[in-house]
Amino acid sequence: MDFTMTDEQKALRSAARELAARHAPERGEGDVPVGPHDHDPKTWTAMAEMGALGLPFAEDVGGFGASPVEVSIVAAELGSAGVQTAYADALVAASLLVSSGSQSGLVEAVTDGSALVLPALTEPQRAWSQTFSSMTASQVGDKWVLSGTKEPVLCVGSATHLVVPAQTNDGLAVFLVETPVVSGARVALVETPATLLLDPSRTPAALAGAVNLGIVTLAGEALGAMDAALSMTVEYLKTRKQFGVPLMKFQTLTQRAADMYVSLELARSTVLFAAMQLADHPDDAAIASRTKVVVGRTGRHIGQEAIQLHGGIGMTAEYSVGHLTARLTAIERTFGDPRQHLAILAGSVRDHAMVDVLS
């Protein structure tokens, strides 16, 4: 096992860092956007140009033949700079398109940025589930139509297509919907024509792999956000004075910064490993759940402490640390929260004596 980046990976990181710096949100006096992001076509085009959107997919299906490792490297740079995008969602959708084997043209459009395909997975007032959809699919002649509601689907107003899991008579299947009519973040379909992407026999594995890819993408983004939040906190402790001395003279603060660092390093190892593991075993649900648990807990720890150690300034929208914490708060609850993933893992503790990471 080797955690060292190759030269190619380092070059990718540099490119992503440069891209992220160019598209990072501006902060300072005056109001700025807070909370969930809208789609920014400029950032997206730049990501397409650097090849980020097709990274983990094989070249013969229109991708760039890299892996989740490279995706997490790019995502970390976006996260560190506070650049919010639909990257994880778009990769989930693209993964399902690739799995379908029938959409090579669309995959190409996705990776070059000309199409924005998003997955519609969540439902109002329902806990996260990747195995349930109240959306129904029925056949009218040889055409499929979908009815039901998905919400919230972030950035959906900019989507050209949606990938939608829906219930058929034979089980859950995955469909493609073009130019959906949406309001805000809601997708309410009524007998809407759709194309079958994955039939019920192929859906569970494909969905699992797609969501795992989304999880590791967000974990990479979270890693970057945590890195940035800790760096800013350390810098603040070094420079900010209270009672006539720099904050770093207060041992209770520096010991807590050390705990943040320890949490971060453990999360870093986990994310890097998960990316490597999913490169080899895309549908390993256990590593995805463990990553959600570790990164979720760590994001909470670092996000909360970063604000607390900053004090009042950390609460303001003029300063980045609060935005990073807000983003970590959202990531923690995307694709399932730590409690749900812990419950899944709890159900399988009998299946192994120890967790084996070397193989």
Partner: protein
């Protein structure tokens, strides 16, 4: 030791509960309960209704509207008000400047300000913190220089909550820069916000709201009669204001209300074949928080009984510390319950999402302030370790 309420206290509780749940306007309560940024009109309306009922400033001296209640009765009053989602009297008026004027102000100041303060005819805001004087408040630099019958104020305050709605500000200003200790030489000044030279700049917070402000003073002339108590003695009044009060330090009723709401919310979120309230880990977390909130409430009742003799009180630090932590924990729980439905918190039309899911994350983020403002939790621990345990760092 006696667990049961006396007949008198039980009747008192019923009276409070009846007033807050039957007499008080339902529409104001509904808006307050829903959360989010509440308009100043509801706060003003609420306080006037309370004041008319004699319930705005029960802890003040009786001649200015006080009720001479026991601490237990004041706990009951707050608990019933908070659990009924009645907007409480504005803290800057009822709990901060009012008690200071009542305790240290001249008869003239009291008569001039207390009735208007109780009725929110004057909306007060607080001018304590400065950009370089947060936890280390005594380092404040805003100056007031005497010029004839006036003080001339220059400087900047920050973290002034709801300052954009305020008519007046009570401010700590440095009146004697040559005092031997930085805590000396500070005075407590009442300033009309409409005086020339006062500027307010709202600060945006991470939830998108603008509840705090910077307030700038540029040669602001303040009549000398608006200085409370003795010149250069403002630090002791500020300490009185910040720590003399045990009742209501921890918002127990609000926390209980939100935790009860969380259960209601969880019962509406479908999960598998049931709801989130059927989830063993989530319901255990709720049960755990109920245990902790119960312990907090009992502690609030227990320590409220002791006397503070008008001095800063380390016991209130326990309530501030644990109260803010539990408030944050409960709000975080609500974000967990909202789950994916809480991920989009911008407003838009035509949504099937309930409004509590949209408010969950920004409210959680907003209340990270609870462990920072009004004396950070690090400062509270310091007060406890030094003031109670005798650990002098």
């Amino acid at each position: 030791m006696e667990r049961r309420l006396s007949e008198e206290d039980a009747a008192f509780r019923q009276q409070m509960r009846d007033f807050f749940t039957k007499t008080f306007p339902q529409d104001i309560r509904d808006r307050w309960h829903a959360g989010g940024e509440v308009g100043p009109d509801d706060i003003r309306a609420s306080q006037r209704i309370l004041n008319e009922a004699g319930l705005a400033v029960p802890h003040w001296p009786t001649e200015y509207g006080g009720k001479d209640w026991t601490t237990l009765q004041r706990h009951i009053y707050l608990h019933e008000m908070q659990t009924a989602s009645v907007p409480p009297p504005l803290a800057f008026n009822a709990n901060m400047v009012g008690p200071v004027i009542a305790a240290f102000g001249s008869k003239e100041l009291k008569d001039r300000f207390l009735p208007a303060t109780a009725n929110l005819d004057i909306w007060w805001c607080q001018g304590f913190s400065e950009p370089d004087a947060g936890s280390d408040l005594a380092s404040l630099r805003t100056t007031a220089t005497r010029d004839g019958d006036e003080w001339v104020v220059n400087g900047q305050k920050t973290w002034t909550t709801l300052g954009q709605h305020a008519d007046w500000i009570f401010a700590l200003v440095r009146t004697n820069p040559d005092a031997p200790k930085k805590q000396l030489g500070i005075s407590f000044l009442l300033i009309d916000m409409s005086t020339p030279g006062v500027t307010v700049r709202p600060i945006q917070l991470i939830d998108g709201g603008h509840e705090v402000n910077e307030v700038f003073f540029d040669n602001v002339r303040v009549p000398a009669a608006q200085l409370v108590g003795e010149v250069d003695q403002g630090w002791s009044y500020a300490k009185f204001l910040l720590g003399n009060e045990r009742v209501g330090v921890a918002p127990v009723g609000s926390i209980k209300r939100k935790l009860a709401d969380a259960k209601t919310f969880a019962a509406t979120v479908r999960s598998g074949d049931g709801t989130l309230l059927d989830d063993p880990l989530l319901s255990a977390r709720i049960a755990e928080l109920e245990c902790e909130v119960m312990a907090l409430e009992l502690t609030a009742i227990r320590v409220a009984g002791g006397s503070t003799e008008g001095k800063p009180d380390p016991a209130s630090s326990i309530l501030k510390l644990r109260g803010s932590e539990l408030q944050q924990d409960v709000l975080e729980l609500v974000v967990d319950i909202a789950g994916p439905s809480g991920l989009q918190w911008n407003r838009y039309d035509g949504t099937d999402l309930e409004s509590w899911t949209r408010r969950a994350a920004p409210t959680y983020l907003n209340f990270r302030k609870a462990s920072i403002y009004g004396g950070s939790n690090e400062v509270q621990r310091q007060v406890i370790s030094s003031g109670i345990l005798g650990l002098r760092g």
